[in-house]
């Protein structure tokens, strides 16, 4: 290591990249201005699931209040239950995701996660690898790093600062496997990434629920002896949406998106909320957010290369659901 830790010189973007980036920016702005949707597109689709729980997409298009005017509507109550303002609480979710893809193949896997509802929103997830029943992968955020726990070695691997090669794309693969960059660091992550997006995803659902111009049907029904509020509607791409919330707490129970692939064949994604609760941020509960808190005796390995290798070993190239929940008409937010 050099004795001189002075900062490197400032540089401009190389070559024509400044112009390209500006053109890209203006293109994206134009795109957003042209396609400004009344309703946020649904987040749940097979490809989105491949990048983890942030795609809990509960776009509910209901505005019909069958219970008369005055007071908050059902949709407002359901939205309020999903709203997660910053608070000294921990969101605890356990969900089962069941997907039927466009070929009729079914996949089901569970994930459990905890996320602090205040900045910097640390989180931890335990999830099954899609297609690997009984598998268990545990990950967490730690500041700017991603951490992965290997129970066989009782080791916590920290991904550190990711350094994707400019030669390679920076997205997770469609099959959910981890990519490694030219320098060995992990690019993209597995299909069941950390639930860093819980708060964001559910907020987007709230935004979609409260947005103007939606239509749908809501009603109070009994499902398996439980009083639930049922919302149905369609997304901009034409998929049928169903959302069930508990009639007393308005906590989420189930979300489903169904798209007709061809007569007699539907592709669908169903998310069942097995657990949805907010825990106080006590010291014991905060330990739920970190791998070190859960595995105090574990070795900590900060080598990004080891992290990438462990990710590949534990996640591998598991097939991810490929259901096409959205049509080509779906829009980019």
């Amino acid at each position: 290591m050099s004795d001189n830790l002075s900062l490197p010189e400032e540089r401009g973007l190389p070559g024509s990249r400044l112009t390209e980036r500006k053109e890209h920016l203006l293109s994206e702005i134009s795109r957003r201005q042209e396609h400004r949707p009344l309703v946020r597109r649904p987040l749940v689709r097979g490809a989105a699931l491949a990048v983890g729980l942030a795609v809990v997409a509960l776009v509910v298009l209901s505005v019909v209040n069958v219970f008369g005017p005055g007071g908050p509507t059902l949709v407002e109550k359901a939205a309020a239950a999903l709203a997660l303002p910053d608070a000294n609480q921990i969101l605890h979710l356990k969900i089962r995701i069941s997907v039927v893809d466009s070929n009729g193949t079914s996949t089901s896997y569970e994930e459990e996660g905890w996320q602090l509802l205040s900045t910097p929103y640390p989180s931890r997830t335990i999830g099954e690898v899609p297609g690997k029943s009984g598998s268990r992968v545990e990950m967490a955020t730690a500041g700017p790093s991603l951490e992965l726990y290997d129970p066989a070695k009782n080791t916590i691997y920290s991904g550190g600062l990711q350094s994707p090669s400019p030669n390679q794309e920076q997205q997770p693969t469609s099959n959910g496997s981890a990519q490694t960059g030219a320098n060995g660091t992990a690019q993209g992550t597995a299909a069941f990434l950390l639930p860093m997006g819980y708060k964001t995803a559910l907020q987007q659902i709230v935004d979609a629920l409260l947005g103007p111009g939606k239509s749908g049907v809501e009603q109070e029904v009994t499902v398996n002896g439980r009083a639930v509020v049922r919302f149905t509607g369609k997304d901009p791409g034409g998929a049928n949406l169903l959302y069930l919330a508990d009639a007393s707490t308005y906590n989420p129970i189930e979300f489903q998106s169904v798209e007709t692939v061809k007569p007699g064949l539907n592709a669908s994604t169903t998310i069942d909320f097995l657990t949805y609760e907010k825990l106080p941020a006590t010291a014991a509960n905060l330990a739920l957010l970190s791998l070190a808190g859960q595995h105090p005796g574990a070795t900590v390995d900060n080598d990004p290369q080891h992290f990438a290798e462990a990710l590949t070993t534990l996640v591998g190239s598991a097939p991810a659901p490929s259901a096409h929940i959205r049509t080509s008409k779906s829009r980019t937010p």
């Binding site: 900062l7 400044l18 203006l26 201005q33 955020t141 350094s163 950390l194």
Partner: protein
């Protein structure tokens, strides 16, 4: 740089004038790009994050009044937020970044490639020490010492009281000296203190 001009461009952007916003990009992209590089240590990541910063700035442009008439403190504050919520930001703009054409891989297109790689190596060594500071001190130290923002500009960028900026900067610099001393390096702390004294008077 004409601060009045930034304000005019910003006002036009508020009316939906994308070209005006494009001029703001041309004016400040380099500063944002280098700030992000000095926080993450990778040019390619800094480039993508720069795009994200400006896309976010466009999205949120109606919610901010430019402090001091310049868009740079706001943009750097946005960059700090993007870094803080990097994975969420990257997911939000994943599709947009996919539509960005990849750079042609040629040394002819990037004659200073070796120097850039050396800069990345150098920056990672700096970050190895710098990242040991608490995050909130990293934000203040980098804005004031890397970029040279004044206390007031950094306070505006981070939406903090000026006094908080001062105290975090003071603690951050002290901690940095201790860390560097422990590592046997004091050049960075001395250089930045001198720079800081020029900027923050």
């Amino acid at each position: 740089m004409s601060d009045v001009r930034d304000q005019e461009l910003w006002n036009k952007s508020l009316q939906g004038d994308a070209d005006a916003f494009g001029e703001i990009f041309e004016r400040h992209a380099r500063s944002v790009y280098n700030y992000l590089f000095r926080r993450c240590g990778d040019w390619a990541t800094a480039e993508d994050l720069t795009s994200i910063v400006f896309l976010e700035a466009w999205r949120k442009r109606g919610k901010v009044n430019l402090s001091h008439g310049s868009a740079l403190p706001f943009l750097l504050g946005m960059a700090t937020n993007v870094l803080r919520n990097r994975r969420r930001s990257e997911r939000r703009y994943q599709s947009a970044l996919r539509r960005m054409p990849l750079a042609a891989e040629s040394l002819e297109n990037e004659p200073d490639l070796l120097e850039r790689l050396a800069a990345e190596d150098q920056m990672r060594r700096v970050l190895k020490v710098f990242s040991q500071l608490p995050r909130r001190e990293q934000d203040v130290v980098s804005l004031c010492l890397y970029v040279g923002l004044s206390y007031e500009e950094a306070a505006a960028a981070l939406d903090l009281p000026v006094g908080t900026v001062r105290s975090r900067l003071s603690r951050g610099r002290q901690r940095l000296r201790e860390l560097l001393s422990a590592e046997g390096h004091n050049t960075l702390a001395d250089e930045n203190e001198r720079e800081g004294q020029e900027v923050i008077s």
